[in-house]
Amino acid sequence: MVEIRNLHKSFRGQHVLKGVDLQVAKGEILVIIGRSGGGKSVLLRHLMGLVRQDKGEILIDGVEISGLRGSALDQLRERFGVVFQGGALFDSMTVFENVAFPLQEKSRLPEEAIREKTLTLLKQVGLSDMGHKYPAEVSGGMRKRVALARALTMEPEIVLFDEPTTGLDPIMVNAIHHLILDLHRRVGFTAVLVSHEIPEIFGIADRVAMLHEGTVVAAGTPEAIQASANPVVRQFITGDPEGPIHPN
């Protein structure tokens, strides 16, 4: 469904992505792991068309997306749902308004249908009674769940999660992961998830890819990654300060 070929990107002379090759199959949950600042979020931003690559190709269902402009790019973006790292909720809107917003702007549904659908989504993420609150009035975990509900509003085919559990306590991390898994089973979207949560992500991923120094150094099933002999992968999943990855 998604194919990334030899993707390169530099920012102000810093070569962040140095030839990323990655495939995402329809309906799977692919988790991208790797060190902070390693280019994982940049990779996601390429998929959304928020950043243009310097070199390489990104194909969605065989269509190269870097050449898309205007309405063609909008049509592509409508196939995506995005959960941003900090939630990116509109702070001038209530939780309900945030979730209803894409429907109000993009669909032709009547107000009552929008209301029904928004309430259903809020119920699915366990926030039925929080609709009237503003993002600043709810906890970090709730904000992530609101962001998840908003990302699913337009029933996207592909959902991108940029560190959806960062800064949350272990119970909330597991709750969010179960929610993602549950919604994935019910809705059937394809998911690309960037995360540092090891070993929790091995419980939800169909496949795991490790991004290190701008390239994918390993990709495979959670079992294969956990059994990997690659010293970079081994050090990352064990969290050992000694090894090929320097802590600084």
Partner: protein, 255 residues
């Protein structure tokens, strides 16, 4: 040699920033004419820029008129021409001080807040979220703000002028003894429609200028709280300077 290099770098930087600002304005103007217009957003912006600036405009307008009344009366008295206090106050306000001071006050109150709001939306990825939803942030955020500026600035300027004229009346007529009939009668004789339209035309152009600069600085803010703080300062300083420069340019063309 290093001085030339620094000068060259500075000049290229100014050209690049200026070019980006012009492209930003061009894009905003293009999306202004692409329906549908975000009416609710625009009304919200009118309330934010206009209604919430009303108190400060009333206050500054009144005191500007009062100071003008006092100072102009003192000057005219030297020539025995106190009778012209009304038109002197009115023309100063309508042609010059009303549009300029009103624009400077709105820049300080609403322009800085606009930059900070859009800047925070940028650094918290809210603008990226709009883009990811296939909603054009230019159409959703910038166009309603610029249109609101075009509507609100002349209205606030008209209020500023009116309150200022009554401030001058209070000092000139009630405190310094100029005749009420003289104050308004001479004003009616010397103030013509062209003065009013020129003043309002200035304020419309200031509305465009302030919202353009403030939106641009917020939209292209740097990273973190420091980036927003810098963008806000730059927006206020650049808007204020451009108001005064543009005022001179427009004044010399319109006169």
């Amino acid at each position: 040699m290093w001085m030339f290099r620094l000068l060259g770098q500075w000049f290229i930087g100014v050209l690049r920033d200026g070019g980006q600002m012009v492209i930003f304005l061009g894009s905003a103007l293009f999306w202004t004419f692409v329906p549908p217009l975000k009416w609710r957003r625009m009304i919200g912006r009118i309330h934010f820029i206009g209604a919430k600036s009303l108190v400060i405009i009333l206050l500054t307008g009144a005191f500007t008129g009062m100071v003008l009344g006092l100072q102009v009366f003192y000057t005219l008295a030297k020539f025995g021409s106190e009778a012209f206090l009304g038109p002197a106050v009115a023309l100063s306000l309508i042609r010059e001080l009303g549009p300029v001071l009103c624009a400077l006050m709105v820049t300080g109150r609403a322009g800085s807040a606009l930059t900070a709001e859009i800047g925070i939306m940028r650094i918290t990825e809210q603008i990226d979220a709009l883009t990811a939803m296939a909603l054009n942030p230019m159409r959703y955020l910038i166009v309603p703000t610029i249109l609101a500026g075009l509507i609100v600035f002349p209205l606030l300027t008209a209020i500023f002028d009116l309150v200022g004229i009554y401030g001058g009346y209070l000092v000139g007529v009630k405190l310094l003894g100029v005749g009420e009939g003289t104050y308004f009668g001479e004003m009616e004789t010397y103030v013509v429609l062209r003065d009013i339209t020129q003043g309002l035309l200035k304020s419309v152009s200031f509305g465009l200028l302030v919202t353009w600069v403030c939106c641009y600085k917020g939209f292209h803010t740097g990273y973190g709280a420091e980036g927003v703080s810098r963008a806000t300062t730059e927006a206020v300083v650049l808007s204020s300077v451009l108001i005064l420069v543009w005022d001179y340019f427009l004044g010399s063309v319109l006169l």
